[in-house]
Point group: D2
Chain length 294, copies 4
């Protein structure tokens, strides 16, 4: 797998008022994101409400992303609880043209997802997948955290090409860097530590914030790379409260509301995920306004 460099939005899925996927809105968003210098797209990440999508919907979204992404990288979230169903979905995604699969740590039986279980799961998937596999670590949702020892071992698997770590734990990123093989694509999975990750030599980030503020996410990286450290920091600090709002504080509903305000067709959330209350909306508008985004 080649080195990934740049910003990848984990794209959101617009729903209609009746709860159906709004595929047209999805394609409009892709067209708009294509105007920015993004490195690729992650379809079916946590911000896509993938936990609420049927397999048919997932496959259609993969197809549309491959079609709409042009030459950009397409990562598809194909992780399911069981190893066998994850392999099956991964290979359907491969068949539809996804370039790599992002596989969530299984989590339902969390206290039994020990090193042995995680090693076995990812190894079997790596062996059977028709495209490279990347691990997806997001304890905020899964309550499972990949141990560095597992990352170290799996980074040496010929068909496991990287990972997305969404913990925001910079010391953990350092430990993953230290144990993983050269060429392993360690991607930071949240804009909350995008600038620190860059200063540590990471080159790729998959971040919710890139749905609504793609240019700013890209600019932080360009400023850092061109040695304009202070400007990179300033922009990063300006974006920090926005990122906190559209992730930890208000979640996907917040991200969708911000994206709508910034010109995207984010649509409804799917039940049981609730829309923001009017107080939450006001609070989020204030945050966007303070960041000079609206």
């Amino acid at each position: 797998m080649n080195q990934i460099i740049g910003v990848i939005p984990p794209v959101l899925t617009p729903f209609k008022a009746n709860g159906d996927v709004d595929y047209e809105a999805y394609c409009r968003n892709l067209a708009r994101w294509n105007q920015y210098p993004l490195a690729g797209y992650l379809v079916l990440g946590s911000n896509s409400e993938s936990a609420y999508l049927s397999e048919d919907e997932k496959l259609e979204l993969i197809s549309l992303t491959v079609e709409g992404a042009g030459s950009r990288l397409v990562l598809a979230g194909t992780g399911l609880e069981s190893t066998r169903h994850t392999i099956a979905l991964t290979n359907k995604a491969a068949h539809l043209g996804a370039h790599a699969a992002l596989v969530l740590t299984p989590c339902y039986y969390g206290n039994r997802m020990n090193e042995q279980a995680l090693m076995s799961h990812f190894t079997m998937i790596g062996e059977s997948a028709d495209i490279p596999v990347m691990m997806y670590n997001v304890p905020r949702f899964t309550h499972v955290n990949l141990p560095a020892s597992v990352v170290g071992h799996l980074s040496r698997h010929p068909n496991i090409g990287g990972m997305k770590d969404s913990t925001g734990d910079v010391a953990q990123l350092v430990s993953f860097q230290r144990v993983s093989q050269t060429g392993f694509n360690l991607m930071v999975g949240t804009a909350s530590v995008w600038y620190p990750a860059l200063t540590l030599g990471l080159t790729a980030g998959v971040m919710a914030l890139a749905n609504c503020c793609p240019q700013e996410c890209v600019d932080i990286q360009h400023l850092w790379q061109s040695g304009r450290t202070a400007d990179a920091q300033t922009l990063f600090r300006r974006m920090s409260p926005v990122n906190a709002a559209v992730t930890a504080t208000f979640g996907v509903a917040g991200l969708k509301y911000a994206a709508e305000l910034l010109g995207y067709s984010a649509g409804y959330t799917r039940s049981p995920l609730q829309p923001l209350t009017s107080e939450e909306q006001a609070s989020l508008r204030r945050i966007l306004s303070e960041a000079q985004l609206i």
Copy 2:
């Protein structure tokens, strides 16, 4: 919904070495459980590895349970992350003859599963389901805990007939009793507090332990009901370490190993769930032996 009285095992799903469901083994187990005075069966609870089952597998297991249960109550676990898919699966289960649906709290976006989201989810399902709905609260797996206020409101919904609370938190059971409407079937979801739950007036329990020790679970209730308090306590205390082993300590793999030792066809776990190590097996055999079960 009528009052449920008695013990209901959340039945396990045997898998073959190749990972396929072993339906024949499943039916053999049902036939054996039928020899005990159990109140019914829960198919597709957490101990069935339902998170690892395809919809086709789930429907086949519901059918076989309805067929094999005779006149006993059949509860089917139909909870999925999205409201719409939960309703669809619930009504398929209804069509196949399940008497009620046990619906897990959605959990992936756990910090947004607030009172409003949970109220909305269960109300929509209650309104659309062709069979009574029961709520399933198991924070050990979901990291979401149903607030008493939500239980109180939903207990008044005409098509929400009860709940399974698997926290083992007796004070919480008391708070649920206090707020819920008369006739609401509050079932304890773990043998770890089966005897205390009986002393508080609960009449039904859905407990993993009943997979491998059905008679003992039933006896605790009969002893209590017949006023033999000391004997009920003694038996409950003897079973406690066994229950801890097949739930918190060793999980489903432990339950399956114990069930095999006690004459059931429990089969393999499905990947990524790992079998017990040989040390874990030895530890579990010792616990069963100390409880005079083997």
Copy 3:
């Protein structure tokens, strides 16, 4: 150590507006509690704000309790972080006439308070204390939970006579019963599971609620002992929301406010513990009113 039977309030410490201990109010409260059939007093438990008291204040409170308790049992909370200071304070308490010491699990270096550290700490204290030692397990404040294995071992120490478990985890009480030596005084440390604890054969409870509702706490036990199970349950259920309010929800400030309303001289909390806001006060009054206490 003899078997302890009955209800023991962990008595609160009244402070004046200037933050000094109000010893006169303390003695007035003791005189009032003496009118109820309580088994004894715990001075310097968590509800006494002992974390905020100087050693001089602690010793004065022990003296006053011994003096005011008549023939009743006096337990003194003497646990400090270090073993040596705990031993010193315990023996000062012994010298002042306390009958037994309640020793908190050390907790600052919580992740190093493993079985070895806890075994060593309590064994050294048991060996050096001039009065019997009881262990105090309250993870809500300490974030340390005594393992059953440690309880089992220490219950066999000749100078460790019992423990207070304030987790409200009934399954854990059962496991402690199972492993501890005959004669070990296992006391439930919260009214939230007082009735279930009685049905399991426990005979003593140290509960915050007994500060403001001593008679009701005693009555639950008497009703259970005299076979009036349904009445015991009814009273227990009526008290449950009150107990939740004066412990988990509003803490010591809530307990003090309730005690004031019910005729005790509870006084101020010591800083940084804040008094209830007026909204919290109104909410607590409503709960007391619904329980027919005011």
Copy 4:
């Protein structure tokens, strides 16, 4: 308060085999640290086992530190649970010559340590203290995390000069930077994110690792400041596993063992803190050896 620039070890307290403080060893360590370009010392931080020290011992250690530190900054940990005792100890430290006090968040009644309680506590201390006050946030030990809103407000208090944040949460450091007043000394409290903190513009770190590896901690900062980014990163990465070992993994006992191996007189831990087992010692030696320290 002036800007603090550089590395400050939170110095450990050597104990003799009998548990007494070994003041001579303490002074020997100070003399050795004085050979390194450290910015100052923190006496009575978490790594000093201050939770296990009597007031007399604390005051003696403050005196010895002031005496031994030459012209360097001396911070004294004076936080206790109550506001009044914290003020008293702070002013005793001031009288002995400490330059500023580091005040731990109170934590025993953790769920009541809300914004109001924390604001009130630190404001009262700031008003009454004869030396500048710095806040100390270390949820690993206290289970309380200072909210950014509180930090923002208190950073404007004329006698609150800074804080030590030991969470290792870089996004939180950014949020603290964003809300706090210019001139507020935000110090990172763990070497686990020392390099990332420097890249964000922080200039001071109080880190356990500086007890045993002072030069390396200083070098990371010098390399960063002189633009040798890659060398700073390399050294930081080499130190990372050492830091993890002497903090999260093995705690104070590990730090003491490493310090002994590297030439300091670290002595015994005080009970109940246990020494490392021989397996833990071997593991730590291996980590030090891999980092080319022994």
